[in-house]
Symmetry: C2
């Protein structure tokens, strides 16, 4: 860059813009619908309509993995901006409102025509596990044109969700954003999102992780799927040479942060009752990214991640209901101000 | 009627079909928006957009006073049918889904054009009180043509919400439904809905209560507004000659049921913490109506009402999250089966 500039926000997130439709269902209902518990399945509109008809009464709330993370960053007192595509319809207005109302920047123009705003049907079972069926809708047309290079350059970290990898145009958008970010000296982060998504696009993910990513988020199933190994230790051996930092989440066992020369393990925050695990990974990333953008050490980043994840799994819905800045301050690791 | 037939469902409800948009706000925010805490205000679309922009992140969930009551009846194991007007849009489909998924009959055709499905912006303060701004949308065109006489005749009780009285065409629809119901030998019930609504349409309400209603639901503020008196005892003296049964709810003091020759007082069910009072009156009516349709005495009807109200105020949202049939069975007053 001939005129390098300092970032103006902590994190820019790019992902599939979705409104979540959340219902409580029995494991038997989930099974009878042919769904894989805990997974995310992409579906066309007719299948989405069919599944919705089989679901019980639901609540609608804004979601989208990277969008949830940007809301988490804002809740910690950090600054964030989101890039993702909705339609100019009722759910699209809901999506934009819920970002802007918590201070997340959002400037992607809503599509005036084409598919409706995307939805994610989420069936939550009594054990708190969520099974998701996503109809991408307007987000299925997300591509390089939706990514404003100035927005990408504005973030200290650019954060991408792996779910984008289900479509070539979205992959291209990610590649373009990644290039712009690196040219501007920014950190590029990726979350693998879903082990089935990794299975579907393993080569593309491997290429990215090995050549273009500074910071990788994954859970155990995802990182093992990426390297086709059975245990996390083997996956750690693989990943450590390939990207600067890998943060591997392990549910109630906390997380492990891996760099070329250290492995930092941090426990999970205790939770009285797991109500809905939707958003756990998204919010872990939020805490980690805020810590990183504010220059904290990796153990502190991971603790902030655990703190945010514990909040979001204690209630229904993928976004924090309490101020994460206040929770962090109470835990002795203030992030705001 | 030359061919009187037995009712096929317990209750048919007629009301404004609305999707609720619920956010948590401070009392200061509510005041700064010029809203009257605890009230329902009708607003045009531009004011609704302005208020929404000022609200924090929200969840969307199906609402509408009489619709909530019909869902409550179904949750008790009763049968119910709803009549109300939505547009053929995203929120309209959400509204219809949430009724049908719990077994409430709903056959009103969605409007193919005109205003969007109505919304009710609900700001919940930390004390659990809700302040509502309703943009009627598609429901603003609700009129006599939307009421199928066969549907009205199908209910043992026809239940009308007072909110309908804000528009002459809806009043006309109510009058028509009331006439059909009485001709078929059905019971006609009305809830006054809101003291400000009563103030706006006092003469129309008085005419109804004194000449056309068998069962009246009201809270203290509403019944006092109807008779322009300051205390409930005075209101009770007024109402007892005018309609067969009046059920007056008194928040944490329970309810009083008044007939020509008796006054039955029933306490409220204890609630650990009041989270959101939205739907309290709607669900009281559900319990009462189920009891009535199943031939229970008035004290039992009131207890079922208290039970349902206590469930709905213990969580966010205007519809039951637990099975009311199970709660009633646990309380020794089974309603299902």
């Amino acid at each position: 860059m001939s005129h390098p500039t300092a970032p103006t926000v902590d994190v820019v997130g790019i992902g599939n813009a979705l409104v979540d439709v959340i219902s409580h269902e029995s494991p038997e209902t989930v099974a009878s619908l042919g769904a894989v518990p805990g997974s995310m399945t992409l579906v066309e509109e007719d299948r989405s309509v069919e599944l919705y008809a089989a679901m019980g009464p639901a609540v609608e709330t804004s979601g989208g993995s990277a969008a949830n993370t940007m809301v988490g960053v804002a809740s910690f007192g950090g600054s964030s901006h989101y890039v993702g595509r909705v339609r100019d319809d009722q759910l699209g207005r809901v999506f934009a409102h819920d970002l802007r109302s918590v201070g997340v920047g959002y400037s992607t123009l809503p599509a005036p025509d084409g598919p409706a705003t995307g939805t994610c049907l989420i069936m939550v079972t009594p054990d708190g596990q969520r099974t998701m069926h996503t109809c991408l809708g307007a987000s299925s047309l997300f591509g390089p044109d939706d990514v404003d290079p100035d927005v990408v350059r504005s973030g200290a970290v650019v954060y991408l969700e792996g779910y984008l990898f289900d479509r070539p145009e979205a992959q291209a958008a990610f590649a373009a954003a990644s290039e712009v970010a690196h040219e501007a000296g920014r950190t590029v982060a990726l979350t693998l999102s879903d082990s089935f998504c990794v299975e579907r696009h393993r080569d593309a993910f491997l290429d990215l992780v090995e050549g273009h990513i500074d910071l990788l988020f994954a859970n155990e199933a995802e990182i093992c799927a990426l390297y086709r190994v059975d245990d996390v230790d083997a996956a750690v051996d693989h990943v450590r040479g390939h990207c600067r930092i890998a943060a591997i989440t392990r549910s109630e066992a906390g997380s492990v942060v891996v760099t070329a020369d250290e492995v930092v393990a941090v426990g999970a925050e205790p939770v009285e009752r797991v109500v809905d695990t939707t958003g756990a990974g998204d919010l872990y990333a939020a805490g980690f990214l805020v810590g990183l953008a504010r220059g904290r050490d990796l153990a502190t980043c991971a603790r902030l991640g655990s703190l945010a994840a514990s909040e979001v799994i204690s209630h229904v819905g993928p976004r924090p209901e309490a101020s994460l800045a206040a929770l962090a301050a109470a835990a002795g690791i203030p992030t705001a101000g």
